[in-house]
Symmetry: D2
Subunit: 192 residues, 4 copies
């Protein structure tokens, strides 16, 4: 009866902090957690989950070719895992989300995924799309727009603060170029 | 500050009942609601939202070509609308979900959408996909699997009760051919 | 691992409709439900749960002296119960809420309670107080104030529509004397 | 339309971390927050909110005699406040919870309260009781029992790890004497 959880948000809502706190809670009770994050995110160094507020912990890296159910089964052979926590879950492939559902359903280990819902053009990330489809529980981690409303959308801005309306979904190089806004300010900035 | 709500569920969870109760609540307070549903659903007659438990109310029909923001703006010209309620929201197009976000953001009318999350193969419906992406608030209407767990997935079964694994996403002809199950029983039945 | 759920709301949000729909969902899957409601509520006749929108079903009556765990254990001896649904749960005693937690924890039957959070003076009902304390999951059934905001509070009004500020918590005689409002309109009406 | 939020949990779920992350989010967007905590909590020094995971921030202290609406109105006269965050909210008085609802309703500033739901005997804390009654939104911050289930209850244990069944609701001297457990393990430990 283990579950697959998806904690979704826009940028800079504190996903990594929440993930690290949950892991800490497990460990404090003498339980073991496995932290996973994607390999191409080199913002905070290889093999770490770090939050802007100053917390960090080591994490196992994976890329789009990793079979996460196989990886976790192997880790289980090495020792106890009470909970799997996945950062940057928006970058999971469709197959990997299904594999994580198998970790809950077939290996009996709860999986907590943290990811961004939509990209700077309002399109769904692949991992988020299938977590929204299949997770047992969807929870929003809230952050706020500069206007005080909840910020559910993400804008990409250039070095002058101007909205970037076109480009690749992922641009390696940090989150200083993204800003979370409410849907009304997203529409205004994108001219929609 | 009106919001776009998405109440998602598997089949036969009571979406239409919940929609009709919400509309009733508005009307009871002297407020006006606009009920919308898709035209090709002829299960309960043209221009009605009906629930299996025995409730029904007239509804405006639309199809994939209707601009819902234009339609609702026209209705607003005719009279007050305090809330728009959309049944079978899984069949909305991507554009129509965006139009409904405009109804909330630009016309200031709250929009409540009710729809099925995934189809009989576990794939997202188009309308649900974009409501999961853009709605201000996601709420699950729960129903149960025959095993007592929450039923988040839908199976299509033939007249003998056997699982149908292939076919079109939508097959006109009633919901007696669908059954809601938990993800574990979905996997078992689909051989996944 | 059965759970105790509390669906709370102000007046006239559709609690009984939601309860009856949930019971219907269980029965439709060939499962058995037990419906309970308090004896002194004679609005809709003895031994019934009825909703303003037109649905009803027979229910076992209990009063403040009934040991609900004993009652349900006896019913279980007579036959299968997959879910217990309790209407008017605000009138439960503290002991009865604990007994219902035992039904979940010790008898393994999920319990769904539906009740009003606070009375016409903004004070907690006894049953709601302990359900808010002990339930595994708290869910709000929303309704709206005449101003369009969520209505979380309840006012008692006399035959002329004037707010009644003093009196007994429960006054037998129907819900036409109660109106759900947002906290701001509650404060205005109560002079707080 | 500012709201009063109550984030409730058992002990050691990460309430202070979540509070500090929310405050950080506001400040990162150039907004101002006011942090409040009760004066008699000297675990982490006077005038601080600190989390076990290693974060901290200065906070304004108050006790049971402070009128929080007056205090916040005075702070507003000194400068902008976009959000008020209250730690240890279980220790608020009934009057103070109402005052915080006024901060939302009359001063228009959102208030986020973080507190423990029930004490080591399963009884409601005063502040939590009225936040459960009046808050616009109730959200659970989850932590886990040693058995893997959600931990909704709190036990007090002595230096030998034995459950303490009697005593004052609050015992100054740190949280090393409290452990969060599921309701079933609470009943077992308390002999209920």
């Amino acid at each position: 009866m283990a579950k697959l959880f998806f904690y979704y948000s826009s940028m800079n809502a504190g996903k990594s902090t929440t993930l690290l706190q949950s892991s800490f809670n497990y460990q404090e009770r003498g339980m073991q957690t496995l932290l996973l994050t994607v390999a191409f995110d080199d913002r905070f160094g290889v093999g770490k989950i770090a939050s802007r507020i100053g917390l960090e912990a080591p994490a196992v890296l994976f890329d789009g070719n990793t079979d996460l159910c196989v990886l976790i089964r192997e880790k289980l052979d090495e020792g106890r895992i009470d909970c799997v926590l996945v950062d940057e879950a928006q970058f999971l492939t469709k197959d990997q989300v299904w594999q994580l559902s198998d970790v809950a359903d077939k290996l009996g280990v709860p999986v907590l995924c943290y990811g961004i819902r939509t990209d700077f053009q309002g399109q769904l990330f692949e991992g988020s799309k299938w977590l929204l489809a299949w997770a047992d529980k969807l929870s929003e981690l809230k952050t706020i727009c500069h206007c005080g409303r909840k910020a559910g959308m993400v804008l990409r801005v250039d070095e002058n603060g101007n909205t970037v309306r076109e480009g690749a979904q992922v641009e390696i190089g940090g989150n200083d170029r993204y800003v979370s806004v409410c849907r009304q300010h997203f529409k205004e900035a994108m001219g929609k």
